[in-house]
């Protein structure tokens, strides 16, 4: 920065250097000079409506708001002069006249900006003797509780909704003191980021519904942690009372999640207290499940695994920590098996995928790119904070294009190429051809205007990005799609990035939780292993093909599952269930999509007899007399895991062959089995409030009007999906956003577990 663009101002006698044009309130904040405020938020536009930050500026006759006053050279500012204080106190009185004195029963009490500021700027005697305003509360959804009597009309929520959530879900109606905050005509708040409303509301007008009346702020202890649901690894604070997670708040980290977190990260903790938590080890005796002690259970596991030996297959959750994955692969390798994998939602293992796929750039760099092509992904729902960064990029002027079999409801302008699963490769090949790439498929591709348009945007951009996500990695022709994406990137000068499917997809590869020459997640189920070790997975929900997985486990001689939950499918599959610590109950490390290692400590003790999985695995190692299981702490494990990862570099180079045979041929109807936002993992699936949101959809046959007509189906009918002889009957929903030639039948939802792979040919029969 040049000296020219800096100005010198004086605030309360203190000389400060500031960037010309900076807002006074920011400059004061940086210097630690406290100016009271309510409506100002550094991530939102300035509205200057609360009038709490009025300060005195020399030669200005009236007090002016620090949030809307840009600094000018030589400016002399007084934040605590008689003029400033009189203005601030006047505002405080106005804010309090209609504010209820219900702090003792208000969830915001103790952490309320109005309460705090009123100590400094309020009066002990009220001059307002009239009745206070009454504003009825409104139902705005299962996550956010309202009490509009407490609203001070700062409009942070309105600006958040419009500017960050991008949905304009909140607004104000009425004038003067009858102005009310609300949703537009009795709607619920459906944004995947809506929980942030709770944080930005400076008073108790918008509070957490699940946390309502559960604890007082001063009873809570705070631990730092990392959210366990997606490749962002949002930084969070876990608030605990009496060894129970009471709530989750964001921890600001500009490089990762800024000051926001997704609703999934905020409210999933409720799933910890689900009735089907597994709280003691259990073994199956003569077909019946009985509780047992750790010693018995572990001995049985050690005996079982010893017998399975090299025939063991390990299927590990990509949401497991680095420590857990490291020890699990080490344990299974000590048995002589290389059948280890975490890619439980992948079906195309023909090779050539990058050695260590990652986002390709820092999460905070996304908003600066000029063009993005998103292939087989819906970051808005799959990784909401990445979705927010993409939205920022779009608002900054980037052109964003999507290639998906589903048209998504986006909160910014983007071009969406809708392409049936079987045609995605053709469309991508056409884009590749249009950017000037050559090769198999590409040369035969038919370039249309929409492909040309995407190509132009990528080529003209100063910095462009090609991103592949969850749907792409689950696609039966993933290797072809990634090879084509690499060609597009190469020819257009774009970076290529892979959004890992889960919280630790990148970490899992770094600690080699995948086979070198053994069986992969697909082949372990196609050619059933003798025995299985499952870590944090549910057979009916967490696999690309749940029917195949459940069948394989049933055939196996011995299955041990480390799990935080009991479920019918686990009980059907396993012989031993070992209760592992859930989210917040264990220390650990995640490596997020951009390769950042983030460690965290446990916030609460595991429930019942549950133990951190790394400890369980370490003891199993001891019982199996394996080498290298003498760690005393998770730090020891982490250190070894890190050492083992040394020399493994993040690497997005794709070597897959463009000319491979296409597995999806486009005849008939193809299933699109995406995983909805609140079905991604065992914890989320058990979080009651999230399951009541609009995004928590149920299993249905979602089909566009044309395909529905062809199949003789109408909205509201029930129909049976038939996939490789597997059946599931569910309601029909007409959805014009589903590509022709395909039908959306989500995976991981109740009712979908009897079907086959996430993608594949299906037929429909009216039930």
């Amino acid at each position: 920065m040049t000296e020219d663009s800096m100005v010198t101002i004086e605030v309360d006698g203190q000389e400060l250097k500031a960037k010309a044009g900076a807002m006074l309130i920011d400059v004061a904040d940086q210097a630690g000079i406290d100016i009271p405020r309510f409506c100002y938020h550094n991530k939102l536009s300035v509205s200057a409506n609360c009038r709490m930050c009025l300060i005195e500026v020399e030669k200005v006759p009236k007090p002016i708001p620090a949030c809307a006053t840009s600094v000018m050279d030589g400016m002399k500012v007084y934040t605590k002069s008689p003029m400033a204080l009189a203005a601030q106190k006047g505002t405080m009185e106005f804010l309090l006249i209609n504010h209820p004195l219900d702090c003792p029963v208000c969830d915001q009490g103790g952490e309320c900006e109005l309460q705090d500021q009123s100590l400094a700027y309020g009066s002990d005697v009220a001059r307002f003797v009239e009745k206070k305003r009454l504003v009825p509360k409104k139902y705005i959804g299962p996550l956010v509780e309202t009490n509009f009597n407490r609203c001070i009309h700062c409009t942070r929520c309105v600006r958040f909704s419009a500017e960050i959530a991008g949905m304009r879900e909140m607004g104000s109606t009425g004038r003067g003191e009858y102005m009310k905050i609300g949703t537009y005509v009795e709607r619920t708040i459906d944004s995947e980021l809506s929980g942030n409303l709770i944080d930005i509301c400076p008073v108790g007008s918008l509070t957490s519904k699940p946390y309502r009346y559960q604890a007082r702020a001063w009873e809570l202890t705070q631990s730092d942690s990392v959210a366990p649901h997606d490749a962002v690894g949002s930084n969070i604070h876990i608030h605990v009372r009496n060894n129970r997670v009471m709530r989750v708040h964001p921890k600001a980290n500009e490089a990762v999640n800024e000051c926001w977190i997704s609703d999934r990260d905020r409210f999933s903790y409720e799933g910890l207290y689900s009735e089907d938590r597994l709280t003691s080890p259990m073994i199956k005796e003569n077909g019946r499940w009985v509780e047992t002690d750790w010693e018995t259970a572990l001995q049985q596991v050690a005996d079982g695994l010893k017998e399975m030996g090299a025939g063991t297959g390990a299927l590990l959750s990509p949401s497991a920590t680095v420590e857990e994955l490291y020890l699990a692969q080490k344990l299974v390798r000590s048995l002589g098996s290389d059948n280890i994998d975490f890619r439980v939602r992948q079906s195309d293992f023909r090779g050539g995928e990058p050695a260590l796929p990652w986002l390709g750039l820092g999460i905070d760099e996304i908003e600066a790119v000029d063009a993005v092509l998103v292939i087989g992904a819906n970051p808005r729902k799959d990784q909401p904070i990445l979705g927010h960064r993409l939205r920022k990029a779009a608002l900054n002027g980037a052109s964003v294009c999507y290639l998906n079999p589903l048209e998504y409801d986006l909160n910014y302008h983007a071009e969406q190429l809708l392409s049936a699963p079987a045609n995605m490769a053709d469309d991508l090949a056409a884009v590749a051809k249009a950017v000037g790439a050559t090769g198999a498929i590409i040369d035969d591709a038919e370039v249309k205007a929409q492909h040309q348009s995407v190509a132009e945007q990528l080529k003209q951009a100063g910095s462009a990005l090609v991103l592949l996500g969850n749907l792409a990695s689950a696609h039966p022709d993933y290797s072809i799609l990634s090879a084509l994406a690499a060609e597009v990137a190469k020819a257009s000068g774009a970076k290529i990035g892979f959004i890992g499917e889960a919280a630790n997809s990148t970490g899992a590869r770094l600690v080699a939780a995948m086979p070198t020459d053994g069986l992969n997640a697909q082949s372990m189920l196609e050619q059933p292993c003798k025995g299985y070790l499952l870590l944090g997975l549910e057979p009916d929900r967490d696999f690309w093909n749940p029917t195949q997985a459940q069948t394989a486990f049933k055939q196996a001689e011995f299955v041990v599952a480390l799990t935080a939950y009991r479920s019918a499918s686990l009980e059907a599959a396993a012989d031993v269930l070992l209760p592992m610590a859930g989210f917040a109950e264990t220390s650990g490390t995640y490596v997020n999509g951009d390769g950042t290692w983030q460690s965290f400590a446990g916030a609460v003790q595991p429930m019942g007899e549950a133990r951190p999985a790394w400890k369980i695995l370490r003891v199993m190692g001891n019982l199996l007399d394996a080498d290298g299981f003498d760690q005393n702490s998770s730090q020891d494990v982490l250190e070894q895991a890190r050492n083992s990862a040394d020399g493994r570099q993040l690497d997005n180079s794709v070597t897959a062959d463009l000319g491979q045979e296409r597995r999806l041929n486009g005849s008939g109807l193809t299933r699109i089995g995406d995983v909805p936002i609140y079905a991604t993992d065992a914890l989320v699936r058990r979080a009651p409030a999230l399951q009541k949101t609009a995004d928590a959809i149920s299993a249905a046959i979602r089909i566009n009007p044309g395909e529905a007509a062809k199949a003789g189906l109408a909205d509201g009918d029930r129909a049976t999906v038939i996939q490789e002889g597997n059946l599931a009957t569910m309601p029909v929903e007409i959805d014009p956003g589903v590509a022709g030639g395909s039908v959306r039948v989500c995976a991981a939802l109740a009712g979908s577990e009897t079907l086959g792979g996430q993608f594949g040919e299906v037929t429909l029969e009216k039930a």
């Binding site: 509205s47 804010l95 001059r127 004038r175 003067g176």
Partner: protein
């Protein structure tokens, strides 16, 4: 000297028709500007020289306002006419729309030419249905005559004027709330700076002037700045429309030279009604502090004289109050208005206007407390000068004016729980 500018055609049979407007030299100034290739700077300079000040209330020099516009801005420029006329007591712009719409249109085109605007908008008060229809009819006539639209009078200048009908919010008369309203948003004032001249309608540099101001432009350009200045007095050039209402025999709108003694204006309005005695006058619309009879009878009606008396010329709405009126009751009604019309955006106005009303109302009902008079002053102090727009100040000024000049009536209400005016 009356009816020289905005009402100059009032004697005609149907002055709102294009043909009749033209019979008095209408659109000649525009034609001259466009055909004789006057430069934009020359036009602005002439408006500056005339000393024309904004007739909406604030009295800002019009030519200066026009000169702030960056004609090279990337964003399109706009002319906005403020015909919202919401200030209680004001009804002068209504008569311009009814009787002289073409002069306003001509003024708006000249302004559009001067700042190279993409379009003009006239924001008409929602209740003005008949004036709205008449203005729309005039626009149609002008379009048909090639005075609006593409290539006006063959000059290459493209410009049209659109009407936006308000929906009854006082605050939309505030220029930035008006812009928000035209943009289809809730009518709430914007924080300033930036001012409309830099960031106005749809983000473009915008001139926003009152109806009377823009309507004055063709005449003052025709007759010259000196002529216009000569109509008025020092620092208050031209004539002014005064909307006289209240306890007068002939209420109505009068175009008279700036600086006319109030006593003469009162005579024009037929003097006091029913032989009542003059008690006080609100000289510039509801927001202007009241001036007692003896003071106002000595005052001239121009910006400086009224300001010296502690009030303001405002929009020229002269409300004449006779001695049967209870000032507490009157203030209660006025305070209710501001309470009702506050947009609710910023704290002092949202919370304070209702509080002021409730205190005054309490006093009026005979439930006032001795400390209420100081409380009114104190609450007013906490509103004035601390709000996003001037509505807060507008709510406070009448309270202060009343307490300054008629405190005894308020005291009487508190002491005797009844009205001094009745007794």
């Amino acid at each position: 000297m009356a009816n020289e500018v905005c009402f100059r055609n009032m004697d005609l049979d149907q002055p709102w028709l294009l043909e009749q407007y033209k019979s008095r030299g209408g659109y000649e100034v525009l034609t001259k500007i466009l055909t004789e290739k006057m430069t934009q700077d020359e036009v602005i300079e002439l408006v500056k020289e005339s000393g024309l000040r904004g007739r909406g209330g604030a009295g800002f020099p019009a030519g200066l306002k026009w000169s702030f516009i960056n004609r090279n801005s990337e964003a399109s420029r706009y002319v906005v006419c403020n015909s919202d006329e919401g200030e209680p007591g004001t009804f002068k712009d209504r008569d311009i729309l009814r009787y002289n719409p073409h002069q306003l249109i001509e003024g708006m085109i000249i302004c559009g030419f001067a700042i190279d605007a993409a379009a003009g908008y006239n924001y008409i008060r929602g209740e003005f249905w008949e004036p709205y229809l008449r203005f729309e009819a005039a626009l149609e006539e002008a379009r048909a005559a090639g005075l609006l639209g593409e290539d006006i009078l063959g000059s290459g200048f493209n410009y049209d004027v659109h009407v936006h009908l308000g929906a009854g919010a006082y605050v939309c008369g505030e220029e930035s709330a008006l812009l928000e309203s035209i943009e289809g948003k809730k009518g709430q004032p914007r924080f300033k700076p930036p001012f409309p001249a830099h960031y106005g309608l749809y983000g473009g540099p915008t001139v926003i002037n009152n109806t009377e101001t823009l309507s004055s432009v063709p005449v003052l350009l025709k007759n010259g700045g000196d002529w216009f200045k000569g109509l008025g007095v020092e620092n208050s050039a031209g004539t002014k429309l005064f909307a006289v209402s209240g306890a007068v025999k002939n209420p109505g709108v009068f175009e008279v030279p700036m600086g006319i003694p109030f006593s003469e204006l009162l005579e024009l309005a037929g003097g006091m009604k029913d032989g009542k005695k003059l008690k006080a006058v609100i000289p510039g619309g509801c927001s202007a502090p009241v001036i007692p009879a003896d003071e106002i009878m000595e005052l001239n009606m121009d910006y400086d004289s009224i300001a010296k008396a502690g009030s303001m010329l405002g929009s020229g709405a002269v409300v004449v109050i006779d001695d049967s009126v209870c000032m507490v009751k009157l203030l209660e009604r006025m305070s209710y208005f501001y309470h009702e019309e506050s947009c609710g955006q910023c704290t002092p106005c949202r919370e304070g206007t209702g509080w002021l009303y409730r205190i005054v109302s309490r006093i009026e009902r005979g439930e006032g407390r001795q400390e209420d008079l100081d409380l009114l002053t104190s609450v007013g102090k906490n509103i004035a000068g601390r709000t996003v727009c001037a509505l807060g100040d507008a709510a406070v000024m009448p309270v202060n004016g009343m307490l300054k000049h008629f405190r005894d009536e308020f005291q009487y209400h508190i002491d005797n729980k009844k009205c001094l005016a009745d007794s």
